[in-house]
Each structure stands twice: as C-alpha cells, then as structure tokens.
Symmetry: C2
Subunit: 806 residues, 2 copies
C-alpha cells in the first residue's frame, strides 16, 4: 500500500468531487419556487455569469501574456522548464473552474433556500449549507486533484517516478510552482476584482436607492439591486473560493518544497516505504484526507427544531467544524507517524543539524490547528455583537461620526496585538518543533479543512441572497425571518472566515518565503545589508498603497454605478411606480467593467514590484544572489505589513458593521435606549460606510497580495539563485562538462547517469581504458557516475568528480 | 589647530548658546502690551509651567527608576560602566532644560508678537521668529554641548584622551549612549504626553465651548481656552523640541559609533592630524558648524513690506532655510575632505572590504540634505491647500463624512509611496557611497540645520498663540489679520516640519540600528531564522497598537476635560455673561494629569517590549547572540512599520485639516461654490476630528517610538553581544589572564599596557628573565604588550599573546 500512497490524494480528491456532484444534483432537484422567485434568481444567475464571462475574457488575455513571458523565461533560463507554462495554465483554469462551480451553485441555491424557508428552518439550512458544501468540495477537490496530478506527472517526467536526488525534485517542485502561480493569479482577479465589484454595487445601489429615491434595500425597482446581489456572490463566494484555492495549493506546495529540503538535510536521500519521498508526500496526503474529513464534518451540520435561533444554527456549524478539526488532528498523528522516518535531521539556521522526531512534526501540525481556531475567536471578540469593543464604538457614536470613526480605527489597530502575537508564537513554536517544514505543515494542517471552512463561508451569502429574493418576491414575513437567522449567522461566519483566510495567507506566505530561500540557495536574508533593508521598507509600503488604490477603486466604480442608476430613474418611464422595468443588466455590466478596470492598477503594483526588483538590478549586472536577498527582504516587508493591514482593515470594518447593526435591536448609550434613525445611529452608518471597503475590498485583498508576491518570488527564484546544491553544480551555466579520469585498468566501462534540464534522465556508457576521459557536456542539473567491470557489476560509485565549467 | 578640533564643537555650541541668550534678552525687552494681554499671556505661561512642573515630577521618578536599573546593570555586566547612569541623567536634564527654555520663551514671545503686530507685520515676524530662534538654538546648543562634553570626558576617562583601539572607543561610545537615552526618554514624555495634552485640551474646549455653549474659539469665557493655548506650546514647541533634541543627539552618536567602525575596518587605527579619531570627530564637527550656519540662516529671515502676504513670509523662511542647507553642504565638503583620510576601507556585508574615497562620504551627506528637502515637498504636496489630493478630499466631502474619511485615509496611505521610495533610495544611495557610516552621516548632515528647522517650527505656534491673545484681548481686526498670516504660514511649516521630523527619526533609527549591530558583534540580522522573523512581525505590530492607544488616550483625556468645563459652566455663576471668572487652572491641571496618566500605557509598551525580548529568553538560557539578532528583527519591524504609520497618520491628518480649511475661502464642488456651514463642510469637520489625533498625537509619537526602541536596543547591546573584536577578548568574562612567556634573555623588562573596564588605562612593568611569565588578571578590555631592553628601548611589540580565560 505504501508504494501506492502517491495516488492516494488524487483518489480522495476524486471521491470528494464525486460526492460534490451527488450533492449538487440533490440541491438542483430542490424546488426552485414560483415564477417571480425564479425570475429574480435567474437575473442574479445571469448577472453572475456575465461577471464571470467578462472576467474570463480578461483572464484569458492575462493568462496568454503571462504564459508567453513564462515561456520566454523558460527558454532563456536553463533551470526553468517550459512545462511550467502548462502548469500555470492548468492552475488558472482549475481555479477558474472551481470558481465557476461555486458561483453557479450559489446562484442556484439561493432561490431554493428561499423556497425551503417557506417550509421550515431546518430545510432552509439543509439546502443553503448543501450549496455551500458543493462549493467547498469543488474548490478543495479540484485543488488537490490538480496539484497532485501535476506532481505525479512531473515526478515521472523529470525523475522517472523514482527518487534520484533533491536537485531533481527541486526541478519538479519549481515547475509545479506554475500551477500555484496560475491559481493565485485567478485569485487576484476574483478577490480584488470581486471585492471592488461587490462594494461598488452595494454603495451605488444604496446611494441612489436608499438615500436619493428613498426606496428600501433589495427593492426590485432599484436597477442596481441585482448587481448588489450578484456582488455578494462575486465577492464572498467566488472571491473567497479563489483565495482559499490559492492558499490551499500554495501551502501544500511549500510544504513539499520544504519536505524535499528535509531529505537534503538527511544526506540527499532517505529510505522509506514511500519510495523515499515520504516527507514530500505527507502534505498532499493531509490535504487528501482533509477532503474526506470535511465531508464528514458537513454531514454533521443540521438542526432539528423549526424554532431554532441563531445560537442553534451556529452550534450546528460549530459541531461540524470542531469535529473536522479534531479528526484532522487525529489524521495528522496517523499520517505523520506512518509516513515520516522516526527521526529526521533538519538544518536550523545558526544552530546546525538537529535530530527531530516525527512526533515533533505532529506537534507542529497541532500548532496550525490551534492558530486556525484561536484566530477565529480573536476575530469574533473584536467584531462580535455585544462584545466590549463593539459596545465602545456604539458608545462613541453618541458624540458623532468623528469619534465613531476613531473608535473603529482604534479597535482594528488594537486587534493586531493578539493576532500578531498569535502568528509570531505560531511561527516560533512550529519552527522550534520542526523547522520551516514544521511551519509549512502547520499551515497544511490548518488548511486541511478548507472544504468545510468554505461550506460555512459560502452558506452566508447564499442565505443573504435568499433573504433578498424573499424580499423582492414579496414572501410572507416568516420566510424572511428564517433566512434572516441564517444570514445573521452568516455574518458572523463571514468575519471569522476572514480571520481564517488571513491566517492561512500569513502561514502560506511564510512557508513560501522559506521555500523561496531554499530555491535560491541563499543562506538567509540579512536585513543589515542596506539594499535588503531598503527593500524591506518598500515591501512594507506596498500593502498600504495597494489598500488605498483598492479603496479609491470602489469609490470610482460606485460613482459610475450612481450615474447609471440616476439615468435609469430619469429615462425609464414608470420605473418608480413598478410599471417600467429597470435594466438590471446595464448595472451589472457597469459593475463588471468598472471593477475589472479598477483592479488593473493594484494588480500591476502586485506583479510589477517584484519583477522590477528582480530584473532592473539584473540589467545593471548586479549579483543574482544579492538580488535574491533583496527580493527576499521585499517579500518579508510585504508579508509583515500585509498581514497587519489585513487584520486592521478586516476587524475595523467588521466592528463598524456590527456597531451599526447593534442599533437595530437598540443599544443603551448613557443610560438611554437608542435605536435606528437616531443621531448616534447615523454616526454609526458613516462608520460602516468607511468600513465597507475596508472589510470587503482592501482588507481581504491583502491575502492575495502577500501570497502572490511570495509566489512570484518563488517562480523567479530559479532565475536568481544557483541551485547551490551538494553536487556543486551551479545552475547559471548553460554548459557543464564533467571530467572523470579513470585511474584503474581493471575497469571496462563507465556508466554515467545524469539528467539534463531539457531532456530529463539520461545514461551514457563509455568503454574505458586507463586514463580515459569521460565527458558529458550538457545543461546538467544532476549526475551520478558509476564504474562497472566487464561483467557489468558496479564496483565503484563515484560521488564527486571534477566539474569544470565550460 | 587639528589637535584642538575635539574642542571645536563645544566652542561652537557655546557660541550658539551665547547668541541665544542675546536674542532672548532682545525678545524679553520687547513690549508685552497692555494689562489684559499680559494677563492672558501670564495664564498661558503659568499653565505651561504647571504642565512642565507636573511633567518634571513624573520625570524625576522615571529618571530615578531607570538610573537605578542602569546602575544595577552596570554593576552586573562588566562591559557596562556606571558612568552611563550619569550620562543618562544629564541627557534627561539637558533635554528637559532645553524644553524649559523653549516653552518659556514661546509663552513670553506670544504676547510680544501680538503687541508687535499692532505696529507692523515685519515686526511681528521679527519677534515671533526671534522667539523661535531662541528655542532652536537652545535645543541645538544644549544637545551639542552636552554630547561633546561627555565625549571629551569619557575619552579622557577611558582612554586618557589618546587613541588606543576601537574596543576602548566602543566603551566610550556605549557609555555616551546613556546621554542619548536620557534625551530620548524626555522626548517620550514631551512628545507623547504633549501630544495627548494638546488634543485633549483642543477637543475638550471645542466640544463644550463651540458645540454645546455656542461660543467662538479662543473665547475667554471658555474655561478650557487657556489649556488649549497651553497645549499648542506643550505639543508643538516642547514636544517637537524634545523630539529633535533626541534625534540630533542620537544621529551624531550613531555616526560616531560607525566612525569607530570605519577605523576598525582600517585595521584598528589610523594616523591623522586629529589624534586618529577624525571619522569619529566628523559628525560632531558637522553638528557644531551647523549651529553657526543656522544662526546665519535665521538672520536672513525678514520681510520689509507691511503689506506682505503668506507667500512673502514663506519666501523669507525659505531663503533662510535654503541658505542653511547650501551652507551645510559646503561645510560638509570642507570638513569631510579635511578631517577624513583620502581613502578609507569599509566593510560591506557580503562584499568584503572596499576602498572608499572621502568624496564618497561627502556625497552621502548630500543624500541626507536632499532627503530633508524633498520630504518637505512631498509632505506639502499631500497636505497643501489647493493641491490635488486636498481638492479630491474636498470633492468627496460632498457625499458625506464617510467618503471624506475614505478619501483622507487613502491620501495618507498613498503618500507613503513617494516617501518610502525616497527613504529606501536614500538608504541605498548613502550606503552605496559610504556604507552605514554614509547612512549615519546623511542623517547628521540633514540634522545639522536643526536649530533653523526648530526656529521655523516654533514660530508657528507662537503666532497661533499671538492670534489667540489678540482675540481674547479684543484687539483691532488688523492685528488678528497680521497674526493670521503668520499662523497660516505656521500651519504649512508645521506639516513640513513633521515631514522633517519623521525623516530625521527614520534616518536616526537606521543609523542606530547599524550601530546596534556593531555593538553586539553579530554578523547580521537574518530574517530567515524563524524567531527573528517572528520578532519582525511583533515589531511591525507595536506602532499600530501604540497609535491606537495614543488615539484612545486623547479620547479619554478629552472626556475628562469636557466634564470639567460642563461643571464650571454649571457651577460658576455669571460665567457666560463674563462676570464670573472661569477657573482656567483647573482645566490646565486636568489636561496635565490626564495626559501624563494616559501616556503611561504606550510608554510602557515602548520600553517594555524590547526589554522583554532581551531578558525573558535570557532567563531561559538562550544564546545572547541569538537574542541580539531577535531584538534586531524587532527593531527593524518597529522602524519599518513606525515610519509607514507616521507618514500615513501625519499626512492623512494634515490633508483633512486643510480640506476643512479650504471651505473657509470657499471651494468649488460640482460647479458650485461651497462655504463654511454647508453639509460638505460639516463632513470635512468630521474628517478633521479624526485627523487631529492622527497628526498631533499618534503620528508624531511614532518618531519617539522608533528612536527609543533602537536606543534601548543600543544600550542593551553590550549585555547581549560579545565585543568580538580583533583583539579576541570576549567581553563576557569577568576575568581574563594574559600569559606571555618571554623567550629571550636579552630583555630586561616587559611593559604591558592594558586597560580595564573599571579602572581605565593601566601600565604594568615586570622585570623579566627568560621564561618569565607575565600575568595580568583583570576585567580587561584591551591590552598591548611591549618588550623593552635594559636601555628602555622597545625592541618588540607583541600584538598577539595567549589569552586564557580564568
């Protein structure tokens, strides 16, 4: 069984996808309600498709451009294989496909949830969470399927499906990084573009509809209302899905890279039952098992009573979630002890090689699981209704918008304290347990329940939409009440989901950062070197500017929406009376175009800076390793600052939102009950206006920024760094010749096994005499020479030979 | 002359102080106006004194505690000398004294400016700028005087006023760091406490006075109005003064440390006309000359026409400022070529020793001057009236406070882009020219005009106060118009002054950071080590949390003020009619107490974190060098994040302020002229409320946070690091014995020159025979052994001898 382990993750992913299809057909079979409901739902579905199609067109252009660039790079740089282009395209396509599945199922489930809510709350939960499950399994299944399939393919292609050495495996993983880059590129479009879309539509719809025309939210007379509902799906479903798809793939990849590094530290090869690649297979296996565990978790999410409230629904979700987490812990224990050598050697910077038991790797995975759980509690404390920070913001609203804003900003800022200490503790602990491999596995363990997390995340916007459809199709109040319960729980899970997403992005980036160092072969990133320090500063600045650009983008896109809605109110006769039909599609088109246009500049910033840092100094002839160190400083700056700004913005935004919501049930300020419509409430609404782009656009975008930055670094790494490996071959030489002068006349033949980057594994045999010179002139990345006698027995394996660069 | 060069800075500083006294007596001789003006001025003077006295009491306690701690440390740690305690106390006292001079002259000049404004605008400028000049020269003079006096003393004490080696000089400079730490500690109280004071008084006065009671600003019936005016002096005069005093001292100190490092790189000693310490004397000399240049600059600031407007006044300031900068450039050229060896060797990390010509050091100083000038322009672009960012915020005010806030936040965030690129470029360039010595000298050159900068800075609040006194004493409108012109220019210089302050703090911190590495003897700060990376995260978080605490502190202190003002309005009969006299002193007392109380928590955060990072792992037995690297990571995190948040908050705050002010003259929004009192203006006022603590409390506090963090690191450094110097003596040994077995019978005497940390330079002579063993058992930090024959001629100098640790 052990030798087949490499196929296990792919099998489990396929199982997950099959379950997803079953679940999907079950959801689709549910009653989609009456004509009006269907009509609205169809509008949302079509709007979502319109966004997806526009996004895909832009994406196609982007993918073609990047593919050409990557192809050029792989042509010029000997260590980069052209297959990275294929991996990149598939990564992009898989992620886009996962987003497509999620968006479609979400926009089909919403109306079915409304219909189910007409019968009972348990049914409504079942349907909406069913839709979320489809989404979650689609993302997780495709991520694991794609990544492992490409790994198996590259492992075969470059290494003949057999362990050769860590250098070859590095080539495999470097090429595999293309898949991750593709996935994360889609996330840029989906998360940033989606984030701009959802808030532009929201703000645009509100500004004209609620404020100018005085009609309620989700009123079908408002031309932007469909765009607003589409936005929920675009931002919270597709955006979050692409974000976690990217994190999932990148985390597993980084852990594999560091697993390879562990093997290197252990002398370049290990013998285990898994073909000598146990440490590399482990993260994939955890991901595969995580899919099955998530399925079990989703099955546990149900309520029985029709009179259940938010607490019961939340409880049901918690049972599923916690069960998954505990099962993952158990699975990690089993997999780690089974797949890893009992003790390993790991190189700790500055401390040399250390003996690490596999149990310590298990402890590292526990660290990851704890971080995932604790960050949610931290997020909930700073953004939850009835918690102290929210009550304080409510209190400060009584003296006006200014003090409300200050209180909200301060809350977001202070929330970085426990969050960062948690991350810092996690880095420290998981590293202390098992080096950077431990850090990457902590991230992998945390991400193992991605399918479950996404199911919980996605059910929120589905329920939100269901409520909107109930409103627009004028259902009985009980329907809206039931969907409101789900929506309210969804708001909480949205906030904690953002905590999970940033935690995953942070750990992923750290793992990628560590992988980057191993790829470039630099021996660390020394910020006492001024250029490195300068880049740390620049990196720290980028998330701040990115956030500002994203916020401004929302403003600009919203203004275009406002103009269009005003035009329709003016030009379409009878629109306010309900006799004229608003042109929903025009609003959808405007949101779509504006959001995709406005994400260009932040996108360019994200991609342009690391490329500029890498290539401009290269043109001026700077030492590639010095550049690699500078780029590492930049990556660290982006990660540290990005994580801070993500937490700050997400939590400030969430806090303002719930401070505003507090007024709905009434709050006590200075001994007086205060409600909606009061001056304090107006101040709180102002705070929420500021918080909206914070929590839904710029905040979540940070995840993509930091991951994509580190991934671009990882893909550039082979260009910059020498694979300064134990074989001593520098990768910057296009031609390396091996000279092996044989010193014995007993030998008849020399067999030289070597691999070249372009041709893969090769063998060359030379009949030799004393003094024969064996030469291999190729773009080598690995060689092994053995001398055989006339009978063909290997009598001597030469590990080191002279290498002269041509 | 060259050999007397060490006394030059002290002489120039004394000259500066004498000029200050002359200027001061001139200002004091000016007419202080009529009875009512004097009365108000006296209230402000007394209020300022009340704050100073309360601050001094708290300070005294703080200084005593820190002194005891330092004394304990110097008792336990052999490399730390108890004289650091004396240096610390003097640093604190000098800084406090400088603040005292500034505060007193500012509160005496304000009323004289009002009186002068009754005659003409040129006179008003002359008086107010005269007050500023006194302040500037007081700060700069005392800073240079104190620092150089202590250097001369320690140089004599530890080295007998003669060059021995770099290790001894390190001890001198480490002890001198106490002076800098003392100065920066005062800055913490003055800048952070002062920042809280000024905004608490301002907000408190406005909330009750303007909003509740409906009386104008600066109305004498408002009990908080004196506190408000005191606040201007406390925050903008004393706070800014202490901030720059600290930067000035720290920059020069860091440059001296790195100058010593240059000497080390050149083999441990150089021979020049300056006793072999040219590179160490240079930064002090630049500072000394800078004082004289500043005096020249201040003399050029004058206007002739009584009808001058803001532009002419600004022009006069610019002439003075630019002349100073150009003169400093010329002085740097002269001093650098005169005092430095023509070529030096400097160690560049990762690149080894390089030959550096003294001209390259000069170029580095130019980099500093350019940064100082450009950062002001950048700041002015993002915060200046009529500039694009401000017009955009004005535009966004038309759709409400929410969009105004978003636009202001975005402006502050985007302003980090050019600022950080400027800093990063400066780090890179000055390092490329002359290593970290270049970075520190860039900072020194920029800081050379500190006296001039402070004069420009301080004249603003003086004019602001003068306007307030004109209002309160009911002068003719022309008086207020004239002071308003000065005040308006003062607002611009306040913004650019903040830019200068943060640039100085950033460069100072970098220089301190570099000095830190040389003190600890670590060979870099590798963020690929997980604990270092974790501390980089933690360091990045601290400025964010600090800012939040500072903002909240303003809110709390303002609320206490509000309560008091309400009480007085309620309890004092006839207060609104002008017959009852408000109890100004109570309000002053409340502001004073609240601000000092509220600064405790952020202060604790600033001091506590580096101490915890250093000492907690030490208790657990962690390797001191590993701790030193972690602490370095923390320092880098604080610096990078602190600079970002300082720029963000200062510029956002400045932008909101001027967006609000734009409405006073009227602005065009969507084709319509809009004025004060409009909805858009109200939105802009809300933005300004948020911006106030940003730009006057939390933003400027970042300067102190980053400098103090790096200084604490520097003071802890000897405890953590070994002085892993070329002599090979480890500093962690309390007892080192030197064995020198003489192998020749031709020798009659061995003279061993050595120095011990506690006793200073010593000589030991031993009559020797063949086989004699010379032993010196002391807490050594240096030795040199020479063998002399009977005639007393040195025939052999032993540079290396066996050292055995006892």
């Amino acid at each position: 069984m052990e030798s087949m382990m490499i196929y296990m993750p792919i099998a489990l992913a396929t199982l997950g996808l099959i379950y997803m299809l079953v679940k999907k057909s079950w959801v689709m079979k549910q009653d989609a309600g009456d004509g009006k409901m269907k009509e609205i739902s169809d509008h949302i579905y079509e709007g979502a498709l319109a966004f997806l199609n526009a996004e895909y067109k832009l994406l196609a252009v982007f993918v073609v451009i990047v593919s050409i660039l990557l192809a050029v790079v792989s042509f010029i740089v000997p260590t980069t294989h052209w297959l990275i282009v294929i991996a990149f395209i598939f990564g992009a396509v898989f992620s886009a496909f996962a987003g497509n599945i999620g968006m479609k199922i979400a926009t089909k489930t919403n109306v079915r949830t409304t219909q189910a809510a007409r019968t009972s709350l348990p049914n409504a939960l079942k349907v909406s969470f069913g839709g979320g499950t489809v989404m979650g399994l689609g993302v997780a299944g495709l991520a694991v399927l794609g990544l492992t399939a490409f790994f198996i393919f590259f492992f075969w292609f470059f290494m003949g499906s057999e362990w050769t050495n860590t250098m070859d495996m590095t080539i495999v993983l470097e090429t595999l990084a293309g898949f991750s880059l593709g996935a994360e590129s889609i996330a840029l479009f989906a998360r940033v573009g989606g984030g701009i879309y959802t808030k532009a539509a929201d703000v645009g719809a509100d500004l004209v509809g609620k404020v100018e025309a005085g009609i309620p939210e989700d009123d079908p007379r408002n031309p932007a209302t469909i765009a607003d509902n589409v936005g929920d799906n675009v931002g919270d479903v597709a955006g979050m899905g692409a974000d976690l798809f990217g994190s999932y793939v990148a985390t597993v990849l980084a852990a594999m890279v560091l697993g390879n590094y562990v093997i290197k530290d252990m002398g370049g090869s290990i013998s285990d039952a898994f073909g000598g690649i146990g440490p590399i297979l482990l993260p994939m296996s955890i991901a595969g098992v995580g899919i099955i565990i998530s399925i079990i978790g989703t099955m546990l999410v149900k309520i029985k009573s029709n009179d259940a409230k938010e607490a019961q629904v939340m409880g049901a979700l918690n049972i599923g979630n916690w069960t998954s987490i505990i099962l993952v812990a158990a699975a990690c224990f089993g997999l780690v002890t089974w797949m890893l050598p009992e003790t390993m050697q790991m190189n700790f910077f500055g401390e040399g090689l250390q003996e690490i038991s596999s149990m310590r790797v298990f402890y590292a995975t526990l660290v990851g699981l704890v971080v995932g759980a604790v960050i949610s509690s931290v997020t909930e404390y700073y953004t939850g209704l009835g918690k102290k920070p929210i009550l304080n913001i409510v209190q400060q609203s009584s003296t006006g918008a200014g003090t409300n804003i200050i209180a909200g900003l301060a809350t977001g800022m202070i929330s970085t304290f426990p969050s960062v200490l948690l991350f810092a503790g996690a880095i420290w602990a998981s590293y202390a347990f098992a080096g950077f491999y431990g850090v990457a596995l902590a991230a992998s363990a945390m991400m193992a329940t991605t399918a479950m997390q996404l199911a919980i995340d996605a059910f929120g916007p589905i329920s939100d939409n269901a409520g909107g459809i109930a409103e627009m199709s004028e259902q009985e109040p009980i329907v809206r009440e039931r969907t409101d319960i789900l929506d309210s729980v969804g708001n909480t899970t949205a906030a904690t989901g953002k905590g999970f997403a940033i935690a995953s992005a942070a750990l992923t980036s750290l793992a990628l950062f560590a992988a980057y160092v191993t790829f470039t072969g630099i021996d660390g990133i020394n910020i006492f070197k001024a250029p490195v320090l300068a880049m740390l500063f620049v990196g720290g600045m980028v998330p701040v500017v990115f956030s500002a650009l994203a916020m401004n983008a929302v403003g600009k896109a919203a203004m275009e929406m406002v103009e269009e809605v005003r035009r329709q109110f003016r030009d379409i006769p009878g629109i306010m009376e309900g006799t004229g039909k608003p042109e929903y599609d025009k609003c959808v088109a405007i949101s779509t175009e504006a959001s995709l246009k406005e994400m260009m500049l932040p996108g360019l910033l994200t991609i342009g800076f690391p490329l500029a840092i890498a290539f401009i100094p290269m043109i001026f002839g700077m030492d590639p390793l010095a550049i690699a160190e500078m780029l590492g400083g930049y990556m660290a700056g982006v990660t540290v600052s990005g994580v801070l700004w993500a937490i700050f913005q997400n939590n400030a935004g969430g806090a303002w939102d719930n401070a505003k919501k507090s007024f709905e049930a009434g709050v006590e300020i200075n001994g007086e009950m205060t409600f909606k419509g009061s001056e304090a409430h107006k101040a709180a609404v102002t705070g929420d206006t500021v918080g909206d782009p914070f929590k839904d656009t710029s905040g979540p975008s940070m995840n993509i920024l930091i991951k994509l930055t580190c991934l671009i670094g990882l893909v550039i790494a082979p260009i910059l760094g020498g694979h300064a490996d134990e074989t001593g071959l520098a990768n910057n030489d296009t031609n390396v010749s091996i000279e092996m002068i044989v010193d014995s006349k007993d030998l008849a033949k020399a067999t030289v096994n070597y691999s070249t980057i372009k041709e893969g594994k090769k063998t060359s045999e030379v009949i030799i005499f004393e003094g024969t010179q064996v030469e291999v002139e190729k773009e080598l990345n690995n060689f092994e020479a053995s001398l055989t006698n006339e009978a063909g027995d290997v009598i001597k394996v030469i590990e080191k030979v002279d290498i002269s660069k041509s």
